[in-house]
């Protein structure tokens, strides 16, 4: 790096604070990590307003593509673009290799766990996981007991959330085994970034992710019921008011399949049909983006109009594949999560490649007492929630909030877990006209049909508010493109 460049890099990144948290771009001594050097220099060499100009042009691109969400409680039709950060997050080939192997191992074990629990339940008989923990789980579906699912695949589409600790090591924070979302942002971020930094992108040698929809389609096709060689595959959405609706339309379009709502479907004699302009047409595979509860009013919540009456019976009869299967939320329950490393050892006889975050189970007396005494240092989460809801971040909480959670925990200990407050990694973000570090996580997307398939990338979510640890988009988080380097 020339001396001139150093000055420019400093002006763009001046006052960039470093502490004990892992910084994705800088070494503890303040030097750039080697793989970030080209990015920093290239940014610093741009004319002063150029970054802002590119940011505006990327904004406009998101807006006209309709990659927006509706802001409620304001003027009708107020739409905002999904917040994102202009700088890519870089991950080296070596780091990615470990993530890929770790996730493949983990998803394989989780799928075996679901199959086992819903059939012979050997893992419970062998007392590796407590019986009552599984059967008390909110997302356990007794209707799934003894039901044969196609190819024994329960979780065809998964998004697991990873964090990087200050040792530089990636750990798994949680698995999303029900209806994980966000993959459309991974794909559209990439499209916009290629246009925003074309030269930089080329010079880095980034592994492509654009084939994800095709892989998803192949995954769904591989799960079609027997004897349906040309399966009719559809994506089931709750409809236009769902916050992930953009993603549903995006994926359906990219795969060239019909996007259906519950009201488009009817069942007759345990066969699912959709209403078309040519009469009723049989449906073979449903990529379901509707929660279990809302999928079939005859079996699950009777007050839901989002699903299709009779769907579950058609599924049980093997006439239609629904994926992910029902009841998979059992395995992403935050208390069951604590046992995933044990599942990996039990089913695969391997050591976990990606570790878990240390987790206290509040149904255990000793652990509960420890947690109640240290609420100001820990993070407490409700086991069946997602999206950053039902959560207490001890160090950022008030005494009143802690008391409230303590009461909840004592009243219903099975419903909560606690984890240490993690100092997870930060990456540079463009805040106004300069760089500041913000906390980031990583959600890779895993497909499981014939075999486990992971496109090299994922959604890096950013806690855009300074100091915040919450990356969920429902709670003020944004996203970044993630470049896996060759």
């Amino acid at each position: 790096m020339s001396a001139g460049h150093q000055v420019e890099v400093d002006s763009l990144f001046g006052d960039y604070p470093l502490d004990q948290a892992f910084d994705e771009m800088r070494l503890p001594n303040g030097e750039l990590r080697p793989h970030y050097r080209a990015l920093a220099e290239s940014l610093a060499s741009l004319p002063p307003d150029e970054l802002q100009r590119r940011k505006q042009s990327a904004d406009l691109s998101f807006l006209t593509q309709g990659i927006t969400f509706t802001v409620y409680g304001r003027d009708e039709g107020t739409e905002r673009i999904f917040p994102y950060d202009l700088l890519p997050r870089l991950i080296t080939a070596q780091e990615w290799d470990r993530i890929e192997r770790g996730l493949t191992q983990r998803i394989t074990a989780l799928n075996l766990f679901l199959r086992d629990v819903y059939s012979d339940a050997k893992i419970l008989a062998d007392r590796v996981i407590p019986r009552e923990l599984v059967y008390s789980c909110k997302h356990y579906r007794r209707q799934m007991r003894g039901l044969q699912v196609p190819r024994n695949v329960y979780i065809a589409v998964v998004g697991s959330d990873l964090l990087r600790l200050n040792t530089g090591e990636f750990v798994v924070l949680e698995d999303n085994l029900r209806v994980p979302s966000g993959v459309s942002y991974m794909l559209t971020n990439r499209r916009v970034m290629k246009r925003t930094f074309p030269q930089l992108f080329t010079s880095y040698g980034v592994r492509p992710i654009e084939h994800y929809p095709q892989l998803l389609l192949a995954t769904l096709r591989s799960l079609a019921p027997e004897g349906r060689p040309e399966p009719n595959i559809v994506l089931l959405t709750p409809g236009v008011f769902n916050s992930a609706y953009f993603e549903h339309t995006y994926l359906a379009r990219q795969m060239g399949i019909d996007l259906v709502e519950g009201r488009d479907l009817v069942t007759h004699d345990n066969i699912v049909y959709m209403r078309t302009t040519d009469g009723l047409k049989r449906v073979d595979v449903i990529y379901r983006r509707v929660d279990d509860d809302f999928s079939d009013p005859l079996i699950f919540r009777s007050d839901s109009a989002l699903g299709c009456a009779g769907l579950f019976n058609a599924y049980r009869a093997g006439n239609v594949t629904v994926t992910n299967a029902f009841g998979t939320g059992l395995a992403d329950d935050k208390a069951v999560y604590a046992y995933v490393p044990r599942m990996i050892r039990y089913y695969l006889n391997e050591d976990p490649i990606l570790p878990n975050v240390e987790t206290f189970l509040l149904s255990e007396d000793k652990e509960r007492q420890h947690v109640l005494a240290n609420l100001d240092k820990l993070v407490v989460k409700a086991v069946g929630e997602s999206g950053g809801y039902g959560m207490l971040i001890g160090p950022h909480s008030t005494a009143a909030k802690r008391e409230e959670f303590a009461r909840h925990i004592v009243a219903n200990p099975r419903n909560y877990i606690a984890q240490p407050t993690l100092d997870f990694s930060r990456a540079p973000c463009l805040i106004n006209d300069h760089m500041e570090p913000r906390h980031v996580d990583l959600r890779p997307y895993i497909l499981f049909g014939d075999k486990v398939n992971i496109v090299p990338g994922g959604l890096t979510r950013v806690a855009l508010e300074k100091g915040s640890l919450v990356v969920n988009s429902s709670q003020g988080g944004g996203s970044k493109d993630t470049w896996i380097l060759e």
Partner: protein, 320 residues
């Protein structure tokens, strides 16, 4: 194709056609007001409102610019341009996966253009430019629709919506204007009459096309003949009915069900009515009744499309 999707594409298209028609008629009415002649602004406004089929909702308040602003921007008023653009976009949003990205982006831009914080002040500063910009947006959408979308069943439902809306709107407009056309005030300067007649043609963007067929010799009966019976001009009702007939046949060819006899019969009758009548017969008989009949047939076609392609009963579908 999913019935719900066909429904949304059809309405997306109808709403945009309606928005375009409203803008064009508003534009013409406002420019006619520059040459008052013997017709008062209030009469002109009432005629416009009646022609748009929403006569009762918008009472004349004496300020044309303010009235125009309501007709363009009041998104609670179903007659307004913004209401139609919102409706088109909302329908498009529900079938985002069926239309091309170019179509969506085009429509989205038009939507944001109508809702931009500056839209209303720009409108007040230069009404003409603003109206032209809306028409341009709609034309661009139609252009990318024709060039970027597969001409399959979805596209046929878009055409159905476009031609049905256009045929219906043109018939309504002619029905409203018809008394003015033949009720000549002998004392009035011919220059004003000429402007009125040309205005009517411009409401259907058809002045230049008319001149190519009839020269600039503009007369009321020829205008009627042109807008009703011409088979080559896209805004003439006969052309639209040909389009409807062709679109319904193509729906079957692209995987929809065979159109029921009831539907083919209504379209065939309308087609024959326009194909085998002469303007002298129509004028000698009952022109207003003729126009009214066209509107009724259009509504009937709409109902039948719904009964057979969108809201059919499950029992009948399982039986077949």
């Amino acid at each position: 194709m999913l019935s719900r999707v066909a429904d949304s594409l059809y309405w997306m298209s109808r709403y945009l056609e309606r928005a375009e028609n409203t803008v064009r008629q508003l534009d013409v009415t406002m420019s006619l007001m520059l040459d008052p002649g013997g017709t008062s602004a209030e009469t002109r406004w009432k005629r416009l409102a009646a022609s748009l089929g929403k006569a009762t909702d918008l009472d004349w308040n004496g300020d044309m610019d303010a009235m125009a602003r309501i007709l363009v921007f009041d998104n609670l008023n179903p007659a307004s341009v913004t209401f139609c653009v919102n409706g088109a976009r909302e329908n498009a949003r529900q079938v985002r996966e069926e239309i091309s990205s170019e179509q969506w982006q085009r429509l989205n831009r038009l939507f944001h253009q109508m809702h931009s914080p500056h839209a209303q002040s720009q409108f007040s500063a230069n009404i003409n430019d603003s109206l032209t910009a809306v028409i341009d947006g709609i034309h661009l959408f139609k252009g990318v629709s024709d060039t970027t979308m597969i001409h399959g069943q979805g596209w046929q439902f878009i055409r159905l919506g476009r031609y049905l809306e256009r045929a219906y709107a043109t018939a309504t407009m002619l029905e409203v204007y018809q008394p003015f056309l033949f009720n000549k005030d002998e004392g009035e300067n011919y220059g004003y009459q000429y402007l009125e007649l040309v205005g009517l043609l411009r409401c259907c963007t058809s002045f230049e096309a008319y001149c190519q067929v009839y020269t600039a010799d503009v007369t009321a009966d020829r205008i009627l003949e042109f807008l009703l019976l011409n088979r080559d001009f896209p805004h003439a009702i006969r052309y639209c009915v040909d389009g409807i007939r062709h679109a319904i046949e193509s729906v079957q060819r692209t995987g929809g069900r065979r159109p029921p006899d009831e539907l083919t019969a209504v379209i065939g009758r309308l087609h024959a009515m326009l194909g085998y009548s002469t303007i002298n017969e129509i004028l000698a008989d009952d022109a207003a009744g003729f126009l009214h009949l066209i509107r009724e047939q259009c509504m009937r076609i709409h109902e039948l499309i719904y009964r057979y392609y969108v809201h059919y009963s499950i029992q009948s579908a399982l039986a077949s």
